[in-house]
């Protein structure tokens, strides 16, 4: 009797602790989001989104930084998605179980642990200087792609692993090659997971400052980029500059910029999650 009573108390305490942790996370996320919205909303206007910064960046808008961040993120996706998904496919579907594969996996998880400023240095050395791309969208996108690759590879591998091997067997037994099995059966079924994971990785990239500090970002530039070799303003770096380099910190604009960044990233994540849940309803096992 006593033992059961004690077990029940322990159970109650466990529920309370885990529940409190969950509540704390929700509260923190909510607070963060609400705070950014409350502080940033006053700055948001049509002009803010479509004008260039004026008066030592204390007025005007942030269009160049929006465009710069968009360009960098699209560029990152262009490099990281095909390479990351292909590598994930290789690791999940083709790689022989053995030393060399374990080594590749180890390398990937180490890549994910490298601080982003180190990616910045690496990008500076390899893309900006050695490949002579200069400080440019291209160099920045390549640097961010390196940073994002581990996330996309891992997401792809995980998503492919979720697909029951029954389906692969069925396809192979019908006289389909491995590759046909992958692209007709396995990839479509894994697409929701791959997309969600990749968007998460790209969202992170969009908000990074350190990797683009030496490879793409400039302090101030009114002109829109005219090629991939142009350097650009970007949202996170703009926030940093406004907060540290501009006299009389323009709080409105700082939080407004943060809101644009967070809002854009959130909108894309929500769109991906919605698409995924629609797919889920169609495909289940």
């Amino acid at each position: 009797m006593n033992r059961i009573k004690r077990a029940r108390t322990v159970q109650t305490v466990a529920v309370a602790i885990t529940g409190a942790a969950a509540a704390f996370i929700i509260a923190a996320a909510l607070f963060l989001f609400v705070y950014i919205v409350v502080r940033g909303a006053p700055a948001i206007s049509w002009e803010f989104l479509t004008d260039v910064p004026r008066k030592q960046m204390k007025e005007g808008g942030i269009l160049p930084a929006i465009v710069g961040t968009l360009a960098l993120t699209l560029g990152t996706a262009a490099f990281a998605l095909p390479i990351g998904v292909a590598a994930g496919i290789y690791l999940s579907e083709y790689a022989p179980r053995g030393r060399s594969t374990r080594l590749i996996r180890l390398a990937i998880s180490n890549m994910a642990g490298v601080p982003s400023i180190v990616y910045g240095l690496f990008g500076l050395a390899l893309f900006v200087i050695l490949l002579d791309l200069g400080k440019s969208i291209l160099a920045g996108a390549l640097t961010l792609a390196c940073l994002t690759l581990p996330v996309i590879i891992t997401a792809t591998e995980e998503a492919l692993r979720q697909i029951p091997s029954d389906l692969r067997q069925a396809s192979l037994a019908l006289g389909a090659t491995r590759w046909r099995t992958i692209y007709r059966i396995v990839l479509p079924a894994a697409a929701p997971g791959i997309v969600t994971g990749s968007i998460l990785g790209l969202s992170r990239a969009a908000g990074e400052t350190a990797p683009i500090l030496f490879t793409a970002a400039v302090y101030y530039k009114r002109q829109m980029p005219d090629s991939v070799f142009a350097d650009v303003m970007v949202l996170p770096y703009h926030i940093f500059i406004l907060a540290t380099q501009v006299t009389g910190r323009p709080d409105d604009i700082i939080w407004g910029t943060a809101l644009v960044l967070v809002g854009g990233v959130t909108a894309i994540s929500v769109a991906a999650a919605t698409w995924r849940s629609i797919q889920r309803r169609k495909v289940r096992w």
Binding site: Q169, A170, A173, G175, A176, T177, W285
Partner: protein, 265 residues
Amino acid sequence: MVTAQSHAGKGSFDLHDVSVTYGSETAIAGVSMHIEPNAVTALIGPSGCGKSTLLRCLNRMNDELGNAKVAGRILLDGVDVYDKEYDPVELRTKVGQVFQKPNPFPMTIYDNVAYGPRTQGIRKRSDLDALVERSLTRAALWGEVKKDLKKHAFELSGGQQQRVCIARALATEPEVLLMDEPASSLDPISTQQIEDTIAELKEYVTIVIVTHNMQQAARISDKTAFMLRESMEEPAFLVEVGETRTMFTNPGDKRTEAYITGRFG
């Protein structure tokens, strides 16, 4: 137009001293047998005696496991299917398989059945339509789904899903159909339907079916092969193969008799 092929007299297998090794463990050894065309051959034996392993030799699905090595000779209508020149992908269009658990693709019924033909490059809508209808008819499912071909296969019951899988395997017009305990996860009514289907199918294909159900083997098969693994240290082997009626009424081997009368397994 795709014409209905009937492969009559085709789809016979000859196995000579076949053995399969997984890593360092030899699962089956010394299996030699003839598999008759347009007949139902049942593989029976206690669980773990290598029935699935032997079945997977016939369409070279063992190749896909990565750790299985097959030795010996396996001839399909006199042609060595383990020859270096022989493409397993081509073999599998002639030797189809239905698995233990229904495993339809996450797509419509139509697309499931059309998957094999499309893989072979058949694109014409009317050809595909004809193949889908014929395959579903042979799998005894056409009447139930002809109005719902665009329905997602996952919306069907387990028994219907398994018959979609049978139709899908039939759509490549194989000479041989391998079935690995195709009814073991199904309810008695679905099992009955699958058994009825099998009886009709042997007109078109050679059938090799694994079952652990003695009554089922006795009901549906013409030939029965009994496999046994006497200890984990030794590989499994083929005890005997013969007419099902003889095997069940007057088996040649004491161990067969013991197994059939339920003394072990």
